[in-house]
């Protein structure tokens, strides 16, 4: 196992307290707090993020601590939020705008795709857009079709954007700090279903809080989890699982329930992708399951499947399996029928392992 695939964070602050446990919201709040403290150019803005501290409480207490010109509310205008963030970046600030739900990001797409993503390129480095757009994404909270989407593939398709999705409190903090320090625009999608606990997909079972999960141990102070490096969730031989966000936990739970010796990679960053980790795993197992909650057609799973097929074809012993949401809007009452849960994942595992 290569060093970058270890379960440990790449760099740690000096004051590590091994048993300090946070949920994902607390970890994100702490990352923002640290970066506001460390870098006077970091500013946070978004709908309801100021005095109130955000609808998910991710920015709670930050305005009171750092002041209104560092953490403030914005008009309900995603185009405006991203657009002014690009201008602030050109000035020399390091904006961390929040889009309240990923489902609301679309009015800001032109500012992300045509502006933030291309600014460095089109100006040959004269100007950069070092923004980190935080946004809760994904379903499983009965949010209906406007509070449940997983639009990550829209952003992975755009040259110039980086897309990051944490799956644990530990990684959420370290990846967010890396994203904020990165000089390229980063889309930072937070799987809101696991803000408070690592959801396993068995929705009829009681929700486990983060404090019972080993990856809720979050070191104090500043540390980074590098962008572009996958996390080895579980080392195994039978098949490779490629997942990110909520689905890391769901896939892991299903593999455990079925007693499958899976090699599970939490991709953490979709662009840039840790292709070496993927190749090493698939070459070892010869079987690959890709799991995401987003709709299937042209989803990021299609890219992963193509890469695995192109690069590991002669190691494959079965066709690559994609387990995804269905190609429908996210339904409200039939949420669990849509969600790529244990049954769908279980069937894919059976198919992959049948010969």
């Amino acid at each position: 196992m290569s060093e970058e695939l270890s379960n440990e964070p790449a760099t740690l602050g000096e004051n590590v307290i091994a048993e300090r446990r946070l949920n994902m919201i607390e970890a994100i709040n702490e990352a923002l707090d640290i970066m506001l403290e460390r870098d006077p150019d970091v500013i946070i803005m978004g709908e309801d993020v100021g005095y109130f501290g955000g609808v998910f409480r991710a920015t709670a207490g930050l305005q009171a601590k750092h002041g209104k010109t560092r953490v403030f509310d914005t008009p309900i205008s995603e185009c405006g939020i991203i657009g002014v963030a690009v201008g602030m970046g050109a000035y020399g600030l390091r904006p961390v705008p929040e889009i309240q739900f990923a489902d609301y990001i679309y009015p800001g797409l032109d500012q992300l795709i045509s502006e933030a993503a291309r600014l460095r390129y089109r100006s040959a480095g004269d100007y950069i857009a070092p923004l980190t757009v935080r946004s809760p994404f994904g379903g499983g909270i009965f949010g209906g079709q406007t509070h449940s989407q997983s639009p990550e593939a829209l952003f992975t398709h755009v040259a110039g954007l980086k897309t990051v999705i944490p799956s644990t409190p530990h990684d959420a903090k370290g990846l967010l700090i890396s994203a904020i320090e990165d000089n390229d625009p980063v889309i930072f999608f937070e799987p809101k279903r696991i803000y408070n606990g690592p959801f396993t997909g068995f929705y009829d079972k009681p929700v486990e809080p983060w404090k019972k999960h080993p990856d809720s141990v979050v070191p104090e102070g500043y540390y980074k989890v590098p962008l572009g490096k996958a996390r080895h969730v579980r080392v195994g031989e039978a098949l490779t699982v490629l997942a990110y966000g909520t689905m890391v936990h769901v896939a892991q739970a299903v593999c455990e329930a079925k007693g499958v010796d899976a090699d599970i990679l939490d991709l953490r960053t979709l662009v840039p992708l840790d292709i070496k980790a993927i190749e090493a795993s698939v070459e070892k197992t010869g079987r690959c399951m890709i799991v995401h909650e987003a709709t299937r057609t042209s989803g990021f799973g299609a890219e992963l499947s193509a890469l695995v097929t192109e690069r590991c074809f002669y190691h494959l012993e079965a066709p690559v399996e994609r387990v995804t949401g269905f190609d429908t809007p996210y339904p409200h009452s039939l949420e669990w029928a849509y969600f790529p849960g244990p049954v769908r994942i279980g069937e894919a595992i059976d198919k992959l392992l049948k010969d």
Binding site: I43, T69, R70, T74, P75, S77, C79, G80, I82, G83, V84, A85, V86, G87, M88, G89, A90, Y91, G92, L93, P95, P107, D110, Q111, S114, E115, L119, R120, Y121, R122, S123, A124, G125, D126, Y127, I128, A159, G160, K162, D182, N183, D184, G228, V271, P272, L273, I275
Partner: protein
């Protein structure tokens, strides 16, 4: 579709959809006597701290300084020194000479595209001169006058237009989409109105940092229909941002007249009032009025009195770009009938009228501009013209997508260079 006709027993009148139509089309005799241009010097000049609600006349009328007698009139006269006026005239003449040469260069196949600003020179040059040189500008694509006024080298402009090996933007941008951080000139997008919230954001950042620099942005009247413009107005008003939102109302957005941006219903300046933003509507062919309006707005922003929206009422004398032929959609007489004249001629006549200029010096200046542009063009051509091999190395195509080259772009860069060897062999210089 089902028949939508009203039931026979209904008394409701039939609705009618209005599709805006310009007054004149090709072949029509243009007559602009219906446009109320007011009188030079007639508008009051309020204190820069005035509340926007007191600016109705300024948002619906027209601030004018230069009269038919070529003298400066009224409280908006910026009282510029003859040296400043001559510098302004010189910049305008240079832009016109530059536009002529570059347009011809495109027709000769030296580049793919060009956009002139003929008739609109004052709307970029005068505001640029009224701003401090380190105030940040977020232009649209017809503000080459700002670069000229700020002393950006002509050679760099032409290198960019030719996308040659000396192009600082490495041949990545369509001609005229300049960028110069050194000149506080933001990278031009080409997507419309995206620069407007960016300018507001820059101004917000400057204010948040306790800086003294302000921002200004330029957008065409047609592009004010974009959501970005309205987001920009909202943010500018909400945060009282030190920003100037310049709307260049040149009457035409390619073939769509200003009515398709709402110009039949109200003025573009009036859009500011609804947002609680100070608003001025200015004769955009009157360089003194343009300067005075920009100076007023800059003073207002610097005094923490917030944003100003300025509508420059002008006329796009030429086509939208080298790809456009306006004879297909508008009357050829419009340009000559335009009631506000030509900005270069008006400023020239003013300088002559005050005894600070004459026709001989003007002719000499025009010649000097043309010669300088011609010589600089020849200099730039040594670095190549578009499509003639003297471009940046292939690998640069993959750089600056990210700060560091990720593995997939490394692979694609290798592929691009391999394809070039396959096509041309290793003899030909490449990469």
């Amino acid at each position: 579709m089902a028949d939508p006709a009203k039931p026979a027993d209904s008394n409701r009148p039939a609705l009618a959809l209005h599709i805006p139509e310009p007054k004149y089309r090709p072949g029509d005799q243009a007559d602009f006597s219906h446009i109320d241009i007011g009188a030079p010097g007639a508008m009051a000049r309020p204190d820069e701290g005035v509340h926007p609600s007191q600016m109705t006349e300024l948002a619906y009328g027209l601030v004018r300084v230069l009269g038919d007698d070529h003298q400066a009139h009224g409280p908006w006269n910026p009282r510029l020194s003859p040296d400043t006026l001559r510098a302004m005239l010189g910049h305008m003449a240079m832009v016109r000479a530059f536009d002529e040469r570059m347009f011809r260069g495109q027709r000769q196949g030296k580049t793919s595209f060009y956009m002139k600003c003929t008739g609109e020179e004052a709307t970029s040059i005068a505001p640029a001169m009224a701003l401090a040189s380190d105030d940040m500008v977020f232009p649209s694509y017809r503000q080459q006058g700002i670069l000229i006024a700020r002393g950006y080298p002509l050679l760099e402009m032409i290198n960019q237009i030719y996308s040659n090996r000396a192009d600082k933007l490495k041949g990545r941008q369509l001609p005229i989409m300049y960028s110069s951080r050194e000149h506080s000139f933001f990278s031009i997008s080409g997507n419309l109105a995206t620069q407007t919230p960016q300018a507001v954001g820059w101004a917000m950042a400057s204010a948040a940092k306790g800086d003294s620099r302000i921002a200004a942005t330029w957008v065409g009247e047609g592009s004010t229909a974009e959501g970005d413009f309205h987001s920009a107005c909202t943010f500018a008003a909400v945060y009282n941002a030190p920003v100037i939102l310049n709307v260049i109302n040149n009457q035409w957005a390619i073939s769509s007249f200003s009515g398709f941006a709402g110009g039949e219903r109200t003025t573009f300046a009036a859009r500011g009032l609804g947002h609680g933003i100070a608003a001025l509507r200015v004769d955009g062919n009157d360089a003194l009025a343009c300067y005075a309006a920009a100076e007023w707005a800059a003073n207002r922003a610097r005094g923490n009195n917030g944003p100003t929206l300025i509508e420059y009422f002008t006329y796009r004398a030429e086509g939208h770009s080298t790809s456009d032929d306006p004879s297909g959609y508008r009357s050829a007489q419009e340009r000559e009938e335009w009631p506000l004249g030509d900005p270069v001629t008006r400023l020239k006549k003013h300088l002559i009228a005050i005894g600070e200029w004459d026709e001989e010096r003007h002719a000499a200046m025009d010649l000097e501009c043309a010669e300088l542009v011609k010589a600089t063009t020849k200099e730039a051509e040594k670095n190549g013209i578009l499509g003639h091999g003297l471009h940046h190395p292939f690998h640069t195509m993959f750089e600056d997508v990210y700060e560091e080259l990720p593995w997939h772009l490394e692979e694609q860069a290798e592929q691009a260079i391999r394809e070039r060897i396959t096509k041309f062999g290793t003899e030909r210089p490449f990469g």
